[in-house]
C-alpha cells in the first residue's frame, strides 16, 4: 500500500509543520529556527525542481535567492514600506535576471552548466559587494524591518509576533509547494522528467529540450527568489553573503541530504542541516570544518539522502 503510505506521510508532515511553533519550544528550540528551516526548505525545493526533476545541476541559485532578498530589502527601505510590495519586487528582480541569463546557459549540459551557473551567480555577488552606494556593500542593507501586513479588515503583525511570521512563511511555502506539485504533474512536468531520464530520446520525440530547460530554470529561480524575499524578511537584513557560492552549495547539499528524487526530500534535508548548523555555531568556533566534513561524509556514505534510503528499504 505505497500510495496510502505516501498520503499518511504527507498528512503527518503537514501536522508537524502546522504545530511546530508549539512543540519546538518544548524540545528546547525556538520559533525563528522553524521559520529559518522553512525558508531554506523552500530554496532547496526550488533547486530540486531543476536538479531532481529536470536533471540539471545549478550551483548558482544563491544569486537569485539574494536578488529576491535585496529587491525586498531595498524596496521596503527606500521605495515603499510594505511587505507584499517588497516581496513582489524581489521576486520580479530575481525571476527577470534568471530569464535573461537562461538562454546563455540552457544549451550547456552537465558539469559545464554547473560551472557557468556558478560564474554567473558570482556576477550578482560582485555587484552587491561593489555597488555600495545602493547595496551598502559588505555591510549589507540594514536599518529596515518587515512591515505588518494590512488586509483592510485586519492587520497581521508579522513583525512583533514570531508565531504570526512563522505561519506567514508556512502559507507562502504551501502556495509555492502546491504550485510546484501542480507543475510537476502537468504535461510540462512530465516532459521535464522525460528529459531527465533520456534527453536524446526526448529530443527525437520532438521535445524542444533547450526551451524546456530554460523554462524549468526560470521557474526554479522564481521559487528560489520567493525564498530569498522571505529570507530578507526573516532577518530584517541582507548582505552579499546571501548570494555567494557557498550559499548555493548549501541548497544543493540540503537537496542531496534529504533525497533529491523525492518531492519532500529537500525540506527534510533543510531541517537537518539548519538544526545541525545552529547547534554547531553555538558550540564550536570551527563550525566550518564540521560543515565541510558533513559535506564529505554525506557524499561518501549517504548520497541517496534520507528519503532515498527509506524508499529503498520500503521497496526491498
Amino acid at each position: 500500500m505505497p500510495k496510502l503510505d505516501k498520503r499518511a506521510g504527507d498528512i503527518l508532515l503537514w501536522i508537524l509543520l502546522l504545530t511546530a511553533p508549539f512543540w519546538m519550544p518544548m524540545i528546547g528550540s525556538y520559533v525563528e529556527l522553524g521559520s529559518r528551516v522553512l525558508v531554506y526548505a523552500l530554496a532547496a525545493m526550488s533547486l530540486n525542481f531543476l536538479l531532481g526533476y529536470t536533471g540539471v545541476l545549478s550551483f548558482g541559485h544563491a544569486a537569485y535567492f539574494g536578488l529576491g532578498a535585496y529587491g525586498t530589502a531595498l524596496t521596503i527601505k527606500y521605495l515603499y514600506p510594505s511587505t507584499p510590495v517588497g516581496m513582489l519586487v524581489g521576486i520580479l528582480v530575481g525571476t527577470v535576471a534568471a530569464a535573461v541569463i537562461g538562454p546563455m546557459i540552457a544549451r550547456l549540459r552537465g558539469i559545464y552548466f554547473a560551472m557557468c551557473t556558478i560564474a554567473f551567480g558570482q556576477v550578482f555577488y560582485y555587484i552587491a559587494f561593489q555597488w555600495s552606494s545602493v547595496t551598502g556593500g559588505d555591510d549589507g542593507v540594514s536599518a529596515w524591518h518587515r512591515m505588518p501586513i494590512n488586509l483592510g479588515f485586519t492587520t497581521i503583525d508579522i513583525l512583533q509576533n514570531s508565531h504570526a511570521f512563522y505561519y506567514f512563511v508556512l502559507a507562502v511555502l504551501a502556495v509555492c509547494v502546491g504550485l510546484m506539485a501542480f507543475l510537476l504533474r502537468s504535461p510540462f512536468g512530465r516532459t521535464l522528467l522525460a528529459i531527465r531520464e533520456n534527453e536524446r530520446r526526448a529530443r527525437f520525440l520532438g521535445v524542444p529540450v533547450d526551451w524546456h530547460i530554460w523554462m524549468s530554470w526560470v521557474i526554479s529561480c522564481f521559487f528560489v527568489s520567493v525564498a530569498g524575499t522571505l529570507y530578507a524578511l526573516l532577518n530584517n537584513f541582507v548582505d552579499p553573503r546571501a548570494m555567494r557560492w557557498d550559499q548555493s552549495g548549501m541548497f544543493v547539499i540540503m537537496a542531496v541530504l534529504g533525497g533529491m528524487r523525492s518531492f519532500w526530500g529537500p525540506l527534510i534535508g533543510a531541517a537537518i542541516f539548519i538544526v545541525f548548523e545552529d547547534y554547531l555555531s553555538s558550540h564550536t568556533q570551527n563550525w566550518e570544518s564540521f560543515i565541510g566534513l558533513f559535506f564529505v561524509l554525506i557524499v561518501l556514505f549517504f548520497p541517496r539522502g534520507v528519503l532515498g534510503i527509506i524508499r529503498r528499504k520500503a521497496a526491498s
Binding site: L57, I118, A119, N286, S289, G292, L293, F295
Partner: protein, 288 residues
C-alpha cells in the same frame, strides 16, 4: 597616460598569468577526471602557508621549490582517499565533496596558522623597482612573469614529450581506450591530480608574495580561473592559458577607465563567449 595604460596592461598580464596557472591545474583535473575542484583555492592557500613555514629553514628559494611539491603530495593523498571514490558518479557529488573540502581547508589553515594576515617577506633585491621611469616593474613582478612562463612551458613540455604527459593527453580524449592499452588509469589520474595541485601550490607561493597571506587568499582567484576555463574552452589547455591571459589583461585595461568595472568585465567576456561561441575560444565542438 601611456605609462598608466602600460602599467595596467602589465599588471593585467601578471594577474592573468596567475589565473592561468590556477586554471591550468583546474583544467588538467577537469579534463581527465571530470571533477571541478572547488578546493583549488584552498590548495593555493596551503602552498602559500607551507612556503611561509619552510622559509626560515630553507630560505626563499628552498620554499619556492619545496612548498608546491609538498602541496602536490597533499593533493595526491586527497585524491587517493577521497576523490577517487567519486569517479564515474554524477559530477554533482565531486562538486559537493570538493566544496566541503574547501571549507575544511580554509578553516584548517585558520586553525593552524591563525586568521590574521601573516607577513611574507620576499628577498630585498626582488622587491625594488628596476627602473625609475617604469616604477611598476619591480623585480618581483618580472620574476613572477618569468617563473609562470617557465612553469607553463614546463607543463607543455611534460604533456608533449614525456610518457606521463602523453598518457594524460590521450586519457583526456578517450580514457577507456587508454585503459584498454594497458595504462593504469588509477595511477594516471592520481598523478594528474597531483600535477594540477602542484600548479595551485606554485600559484600560492607566488600569490602570497603579492597579496599577503590569509586563509581566504584563494577565494578571489578561483572564480576568475573558472571563467578562464570557460572563455578558453573546456577540454583545451592552450585555451585555458589564453583565457586566463585575456581576462587578466581585459580587467587590467578596464581598471584604467572604469576602476569599479574591472571585476565585472571578465563576466561580460564570459557572457559574450557563451552567446557567440558556447564551446569557448579553443574548445572542441560537442565535448560538453
Amino acid at each position: 597616460m601611456t605609462q598608466l595604460v602600460l602599467f595596467n596592461i602589465f599588471n593585467g598580464l601578471i594577474i592573468g598569468a596567475f589565473y592561468a596557472l590556477m586554471a591550468l591545474g583546474l583544467s588538467l583535473i577537469l579534463n581527465l577526471s571530470g571533477v571541478i575542484n572547488f578546493a583549488h583555492g584552498g590548495f593555493l592557500a596551503i602552498g602559500g602557508y607551507l612556503a611561509y613555514t619552510l622559509m626560515p629553514y630553507f630560505g626563499f628559494w628552498g620554499a619556492l621549490l619545496l612548498a608546491p611539491i609538498l602541496t602536490g603530495l597533499v593533493g595526491i593523498l586527497v585524491e587517493r582517499v577521497l576523490i577517487r571514490r567519486l569517479y564515474g558518479r554524477d559530477p554533482l557529488y565531486s562538486l559537493l565533496l570538493t566544496f566541503g573540502l574547501a571549507f575544511m581547508i580554509e578553516d584548517g589553515t585558520r586553525y593552524i596558522w591563525g586568521a590574521q594576515s601573516l607577513p611574507f617577506s620576499i628577498p630585498n633585491w626582488l622587491s625594488s623597482p628596476l627602473s625609475s621611469e617604469y616604477f611598476f616593474l619591480t623585480g618581483y613582478r618580472v620574476f613572477m612573469v618569468l617563473l609562470v612562463t617557465t612553469a607553463v612551458i614546463g607543463l607543455f613540455l611534460i604533456l608533449n614529450f614525456t610518457r606521463l604527459g602523453i598518457r594524460i593527453r590521450a586519457g583526456t580524449l578517450d580514457l577507456e581506450t587508454v585503459s584498454v592499452l594497458g595504462v593504469n588509469v588509477r595511477v594516471l589520474r592520481n598523478l594528474n591530480f597531483g600535477l594540477g595541485i602542484y600548479l595551485a601550490g606554485l600559484a600560492g607561493v607566488l600569490a602570497v608574495g603579492m597579496l599577503g597571506l590569509q586563509p581566504t587568499v584563494g577565494d578571489n582567484l578561483i572564480m576568475p580561473s573558472f571563467i578562464a576555463i570557460i572563455v578558453g574552452g573546456l577540454g583545451s589547455l592552450p585555451g585555458t592559458l589564453l583565457g586566463g591571459l585575456l581576462i587578466g589583461v581585459a580587467s587590467g585595461v578596464t581598471s584604467v577607465f572604469f576602476p569599479s568595472a574591472s571585476e565585472a568585465v571578465i563576466y561580460v567576456m564570459m557572457a559574450m563567449v557563451l552567446i557567440v561561441r558556447p564551446r569557448g575560444l579553443l574548445g572542441e565542438e560537442g565535448r560538453f
